[in-house]
């Protein structure tokens, strides 16, 4: 066997070992309920902002404390504490991926990934808001129907 082949095999073996150890370090996407079942473990909590609950953030008193309530798709809800500034456009996020771990009382979040309707590529829904709505203009309904044909 060539020396180079041995080196190649060793390097590939190392890469595979590295990737296996990487796979072992992966975490999971969780709902509120499954996250509560593993307190203290680092998870990705997929949820959205509960707009009915207040967002607590006061930059004057403490710019590094924010708390809010998140609800997931199956209805689980949890208080979230985030020791950082309130992310831009936070109120308008449609979906949140909260990286952190469940504590006794709340979910301690270290990083937030937000999905906004129009962050990078404009989404139709958000875009449509900017179209002037004809309903605000008085216009005979009958004629509209006729014109549609």
């Amino acid at each position: 066997m060539k020396k180079l082949h041995i080196v190649i095999l060793v390097l590939i073996a190392i890469s595979i070992a590295v990737l296996i150890s990487f796979m072992g370090s992966l975490t999971t996407y969780d709902t509120v309920e499954t996250a509560k079942n593993k307190p203290g473990k680092f998870v990705h909590l997929v949820a959205k902002l509960d707009t009915k609950q207040p967002i607590e953030y006061d930059a004057i008193n403490n710019p590094n404390y924010m708390s809010f309530t998140a609800i997931d798709s199956v209805g689980g809800s949890v208080k979230v504490v985030y020791h950082n500034a309130k992310p831009e456009n936070f109120e308008h996020s449609t979906r949140l991926v909260l990286k952190g771990a469940m504590q006794k009382e709340f979910f301690e979040c270290r990083e937030i990934l937000m999905k906004c309707p129009s962050k990078y590529k404009d989404d139709q829904e958000a875009a449509q808001k900017n179209i002037p709505v004809a309903a605000s203009i008085s216009y005979p309904t009958k004629q509209t129907t006729a014109l549609k044909k």
Partner: protein, 820 residues
């Protein structure tokens, strides 16, 4: 129904040219294919001529599409969805091209335009390789043309057309009016994050990189296809070098854009979008090195074919990853999909399957050398280096592909089942890459340093060590010097990782020194042939810059919870990364006093500039930074910040706004009212009263930046409000040997600000301010990035080196042709 005011001609022309480009590319592919497989020479020429006409037609139509789309955007024809969605009346001229490539359609066009230009160059230069190489390129052009076709075939939509009309795409009652256009007065505008000069230059260069990777791929495929297994490497080499320079520049421009205008807190975050364009580059570099091995020794041709093929396949894979929306939760670049996932997947597979199949079928026939490489030969170590690069790329792309694995697993297990929980990269995703790639950096640093000193085939020990001695000793001295005095003590990830960083620093210094001295020791100072050494040296500088700037990055705005200096016992609060500055109040931040002085607005947009004054505490320097932010912009309610940085040759001080008060609220016009009182006195304010309980003084203020003899006087004030709440407020008066200044304290709930102005024996002057509005303030983050210029400088040097090599290889090829 007739609509008023629409200008439909450009759209019709656009549609025509899109169809023309599709058809022309298809015919070019077919004709070049015939031109390759036909045996008869006259027929070959005939087909080639036909193919050229088709390809030029494709080139012309793509530029026509470009021109028409630009016309639409420039004239603000908002009846077209593309103009409405990506531009606005207030958009500056310089950004008009940027809206072009904000959308997927425009960026596909840009890519396609580069293919067309590079293909035209090949028509003039490729000679006998033209037909097979251009078959591949024309076919790629055909695939890209389908991406913007927007036609229906058997009921399914193919591609997304940039010339569609707003009224056909949107469902709103207004479009039932013939004069709807008079209500669509302005467009959605370019995403404010992209209104940046990097956005003008980064996409064209990156797509030039993307497009140019196709050419070495096309040569490799052509070589395998026509069974001229070895010949293709010669013309492919300058192209591969060009591609490495273009793609490398494009990727690093993306890094600069991220650094200068995005608020990721750095230039590289191992984001899937970044990784996806880095991996093809890594594999391309591996391919260039194995190609050089083949040129000089005949070894490694199979690896060269594979690497050249894979580098383009990974470009396609990255296109699929970033545009299909599959990354979803994993990336900060929130790409929403255009409903073209099936088409994107097909685009990927239609190249992956035939090219890998061709490689597999021809593998046995690709010439290889049975004789083993000597361990003292250059090719042995070069191959190992190429392999390390390749494996590094593979490990990055596997880690990036976790969302893809989730998707595949969920196809089998079904969504939301207990069989399979989607996986995600763990706690510190950057570190999970860094801890692997640091070893790649160490290995590559050492390999690039000594490999050039080896000769192809075999090297005498004595010769090698004699030449190697001086660079090795010099590197150890310089590296040791950096470690001894550079204060590189990044120990957040343990001592093992710090050790790896130190090794990395020394090995990258070794790479720089060895390659620089090789220009004299090995090449006798001939710059003409030292492109390789220069590129390696630049790469070494990049490594060093990455290691130092990342491990010595400092958060300046840390450790202050709230705006006021915290004298008390250690707060249980985590040390945060944000600092709030109240307008006009000098605030302590690391080595600086920072003051939020004023703000100003952009004349036409809700873009605000904040003037932040930085004063060095030692008084040696003052400067103003002007980070800006879009506030409540076009459906993006909230804040979109752009950083500002003070550049020094050896470091950058970098800041950006993270939070602002609601701009709707009133401005604070209230003034302090001063009262002289004694301890125990009570003062009334509109909402209650407060009692001055105590005044104490303290020196040895435990906050950096104060001398031991500086004194802080603290007034302890108890506030009783009408609502039966009580608060403790502690305004401060700081006395340093040169100045005296108060640090007021705010009780936000009471809109009450207390300030300690003067202490004169028992008499204390307290300033009271009541304000109906919240104070004006900004919250920001500030970093110090040291030696970031090593990274940028290294990049430039590397690209220069690559271009020098390209020019030289191109010249060599020409002279060889003349000799024949």
């Amino acid at each position: 129904m007739e609509y008023y005011g629409e200008n439909l001609l450009p759209g019709r022309l656009g549609h025509f040219f899109i169809v023309l480009s599709l058809v022309a590319a298809a015919f070019a592919t077919f004709s070049y294919y015939k031109g390759t497989v036909t045996q008869n020479d006259a027929d070959k020429l005939y087909w080639r001529k036909l193919a050229r006409i088709c390809f030029i037609a494709d080139l012309v139509s793509i530029f026509a599409i470009f021109g028409i789309l630009f016309f639409i955007i420039y004239n603000h024809l908002f009846e077209y969805k593309y103009a409405w969605q990506h531009s606005s009346l207030s958009l500056e001229f310089k950004y008009l091209l940027s809206c072009f490539w904000e959308g997927q359609e425009g960026s596909f066009l840009l890519w396609s335009a580069w293919h067309a230009i590079l293909g035209t160059v090949l028509i003039f230069k490729a000679k006998e390789w033209e037909s097979p190489v251009m078959t591949v390129i024309s076919f790629a052009q055909f695939c890209l043309a389908t991406m913007v076709a927007g036609i229906y075939v058997f009921g399914s939509k193919i591609g997304s057309n940039p010339f569609v009309l707003l009224r056909n795409e949107m469902d709103a009652p207004i479009f039932s009016r013939p004069d709807y256009l008079s209500f669509v007065t302005d467009g959605n505008d370019l995403n404010p994050l992209l209104q940046n000069y990097w956005m003008q230059i980064h996409p064209p260069v990156l797509f030039l990189g993307f497009a140019s990777v196709l050419i070495p791929f096309a040569y490799a495929i052509a070589g395998l296809w026509t069974r001229k297994y070895a010949d293709w490497t010669r013309p492919a080499l300058p192209w591969a070098l060009f591609s490495a320079a273009a793609l490398g520049t494009g990727v690093m421009m993306g890094a600069m854009w991220a650094y200068e205008s995005l608020t990721f807190g750095g230039y590289w975050a191992w984001d899937p979008v970044e990784n996806a364009s880095l991996v093809p580059w890594l594999i391309l570099i591996a391919g260039i090195h194995t190609l050089l091995i083949f040129k000089h020794t005949g070894h490694s041709l199979r690896a060269t074919c594979l690497f050249m093929i894979l580098s383009f396949l990974f470009i396609l894979y990255s296109t699929f990853l970033t545009r299909s929306g599959i990354l979803g939760d994993a990336s900060v670049h929130a790409f929403t999909d255009l409903g073209m996932n099936a088409q994107l997947l097909l685009f990927l597979l239609i190249f992956v399957v035939p090219s890998l199949l061709l490689f597999a079928l021809r593998y046995k026939n690709i010439p290889h050398v049975i004789k083993e490489e000597q361990t003292s030969s250059r090719e042995f170590w070069m191959f190992i280096g190429a392999l390390v690069f390749f494996l590094s790329g593979i490990s990055i792309i596997v880690m990036t592909s976790v969302p893809v694995f989730n998707k595949i697993a969920s196809l089998f297990a079904g969504e939301n089942t207990t069989l399979f929980t989607p996986l995600a990269i763990g706690e510190d995703s950057e570190f999970s890459y860094n801890r692997i790639q640091i070893f790649v950096a160490i290995l590559i640093g050492i390999l690039t340093a000594f490999t050039q000193y080896l000769k192809y085939k075999q090297t005498g020990k004595h010769f090698f060590f004699r030449k190697m001695f001086i660079p090795l000793v010099a590197s150890l001295v310089i590296g040791g010097f950096i470690l001894a005095f550079g204060n590189i003590s990044y120990d957040q990830k343990g001592i093992g990782f710090l050790g790896a960083i130190w090794l990395g620093v020394v090995s990258s210094v070794f790479a720089i020194v060895a390659n620089l001295s090789y220009i004299w020791l090995g090449l006798k100072g001939s710059l003409k042939i030292s492109g390789g050494s220069i590129a390696h040296m630049g790469f070494g500088l990049m490594l060093l810059g990455i290691l130092i700037s990342s491990s010595k990055k400092e958060m300046l705005s840390k450790n202050t919870s709230g705006i006021f200096i915290n004298f008390g016992e250690e707060s249980s609060e985590k040390s945060g990364e944000n600092l709030t500055l109240v307008k006009g109040v000098k605030t302590d931040m690391d080595k600086f006093w920072v003051t939020y002085q004023s703000d100003s607005a952009h004349p036409a947009k809700p873009l605000w500039y904040y003037n932040i004054l930085f004063e060095r505490k030692d008084g040696k320097e003052t400067f103003t930074l002007q980070p800006n932010a879009f506030v409540n912009y076009k459906g993006n309610e909230g804040l979109m910040a752009n950083p500002d940085a003070k550049h020094y040759f050896d470091r950058d001080v970098f800041t950006y706004i993270t939070s602002l008060p609601d701009p709707e609220r009133n401005k604070d016009t209230a003034q302090f009212e001063n009262q002289v009182i004694e301890i125990g006195d009570t003062v009334f304010y509109s909402n209650g009263f407060f009692v001055l309980e105590d005044v104490t003084s303290k020196n040895n203020i435990p906050t950096p930046g104060f001398a031991p003899e500086d004194i802080a006087s603290i007034a302890r004030v108890k506030v009783f409000s009408k609502t039966n709440s009580t608060y403790i407020s502690e305004p401060l008066l700081i006395t340093t040997n040169s100045s005296q200044f108060p640090l007021p304290d705010t009780i936000t709930a009471e809109s009450l600000v207390l300030q300690l102005n003067k202490i004169d024996g028992n008499k204390v002057e307290i300033g009271v301010k009541e304000s109906n509005s919240i104070l004006e303030y900004v919250t920001l983050k500030a970093y110090k990035f040291p030696f970031i210029n090593l990274l940028w400088g290294g990049t430039i040097i590397m690209v220069i080196g690559l271009i020098m090599s390209m020019v030289r290889r191109n010249k060599l090829n020409k002279t060889r042709i003349l000799e024949i």
